[in-house]
Symmetry: C2
Subunit: 309 residues, 2 copies
């Protein structure tokens, strides 16, 4: 049977750390279970997961922990793109062997200004070295952070060379014209995800698959509601509500704000930790976040009612 | 005894790959021996070493191979800065345990726009986790590629907090004003290296320690000659000769050009391979390089006479 490709809302799942700054698999599994209960799927090891602050060993261990804790690997789209070919192959192979529904793959991001031929060679080597028919790659285009874009001609060449493997793309360029250009292609069953729910309605209206968005960590049900109802009369209103939530979070350093928010939901200050070079919210920003969360009217969990997991 | 800090000319040693694109420890050791014979020291795992295209395991294995092959670890300044704290700690600790004279440390380079406090926390964690008095860190400032600069206030804070450990900096900003600002500090025994021999004479005249430069892979003796004679009447002439060589190489993609040049020196085409996402020189550029090398008059090894190792 061919593997069903992803659609819907995915959260780049934030990664909890213990007092020694080691990843906390138990809390991560709890958060994953809650996200699934809210209709979101699991893009663990995304940018907002601090994935690039984790070693390959730590990521492999976390994937194994999630599987042991009963998270369905078909709901997992782990980020597996590293700077080094050998790291990317090792982590991708592990994800496939575990039965993950797909992987989200950054280009190698240290060297800048590399040619499309070089990026094509990188992805080709990964696909050939992993050597698994089950491998489903979702390309990860995030030029503001990776500083290595995936051009439309490169994506087209990858899709036409590996149509069974290159399954889709997450466009975190923030540039709607780029997302629209991807959506206007007629590649068979190619799944386009926007990188922010601000573009979710437009993405769905143009034939997209959904979104993979930071704020799905804290607002998954409402984002999923728009995804499920984008063809209804409610859609514009739902999008506007999502936009207000998004704008609220964009006032803060995103990862620290997501973690602080989850620490409020779960009444668990352990969730606030980030790994250097990131910083937790300052006391001032934490207060501003808390006040804002209580004042804002949007479809978020009631703080006093919810405990993650 | 306190560890003597580095000075002189270091090459960010290019990394040879075999047919399977695995690092070739034997050829690397040969090249290191030749560089040492020409007066250069060994900044293995720099940007021009394709270090970020290697896994931590591959780097550890290469370090062990160099030690086994008799390379004096005190001549080694391996690059050990990775995106993940745990990777950086692991590789740095290994380098210290092997007796390396120092390490060259990139900041974590995935997340952009991070605060100096976050970068300080990263370097602090590394220093404390490695927990070795012998650790000598040379900071690696290369904003054009890492896209994460090390500001002067950050460097000052690191030096004043860890004066025994933070031993120097490589400035690959290409901005002489930044190098001059670093050179104008009066930090005790702090070693400033320029990232290109184009700035070598000026760096030495302002109290610097030397340079760590890509082209030291192919032109080490001439660069060392200027370093050793910067106070003599020859200095300006030597600098001008170095500049012409540098300008010649800057017409090409640097890493591929260095490898192609070494393949000519060593009469060994194996040296031409790069790992994706980099590309080897095209046939046209290879021809242009070859022609240029034969026409240029500078102090480079005579091609017909030299075999690496």
């Amino acid at each position: 049977l061919p593997i069903e490709r992803f659609s819907g809302v995915l959260a780049p799942v934030i990664t909890p750390f213990d007092k020694q700054l080691n990843p906390d698999g138990g809390r991560l599994a709890n958060h994953c279970r809650w996200l699934l209960s809210q209709g979101a799927k699991l893009a663990v090891f995304g940018t907002n997961s601090e994935a690039n602050s984790l070693s390959v060993e730590e990521k492999i261990h976390l994937l194994d922990t999630l599987a042991e804790q009963g998270i369905d690997p078909r709901q997992l789209m782990p980020g597996t793109g590293c700077c080094a070919l050998t790291d990317t192959v090792r982590l991708t192979r592990h994800a496939v062997e575990l039965g993950c529904g797909g992987v989200l793959m950054l280009p190698p991001f240290y060297y800048k200004g590399v040619a499309d031929d070089g990026l094509f060679a990188f992805f080709s080597e990964v696909i050939q070295r992993v050597g698994e028919d089950r491998l489903q790659i979702y390309l990860y285009h995030i030029p503001p952070i990776a500083q290595v874009p995936l051009s439309l001609p490169l994506v087209e060449r990858l899709v036409s060379t590996y149509p069974e493997t290159v399954a889709g793309i997450k466009d975190s360029s923030g540039d709607w014209r780029n997302t629209a250009a991807l959506l206007s292609q007629d590649w068979d069953d190619f799944r386009v995800f926007c990188g922010s729910e601000s573009f979710l309605l437009a993405t769905m209206q143009h034939g997209g698959a959904g979104c993979i968005s930071a704020t799905a960590n804290v607002n998954p049900a409402a984002i999923h509601q728009l995804w499920a109802n984008w063809q209804t009369d409610q859609a514009e209103t739902l999008q506007q509500k999502l936009d207000r939530t998004r704008q609220f979070f964009q006032q803060f350093p995103m990862i620290a704000a997501l973690k602080a928010t989850l620490s409020l939901y779960a009444n668990d200050s352990e969730w606030r930790r980030v790994r250097p070079p990131l910083l937790p919210l300052s006391a001032d920003l934490l207060e501003k976040l808390l006040t804002g969360l209580r004042e804002l009217v949007f479809d978020m969990p009631r703080l006093e009612e919810f405990t993650a997991g």
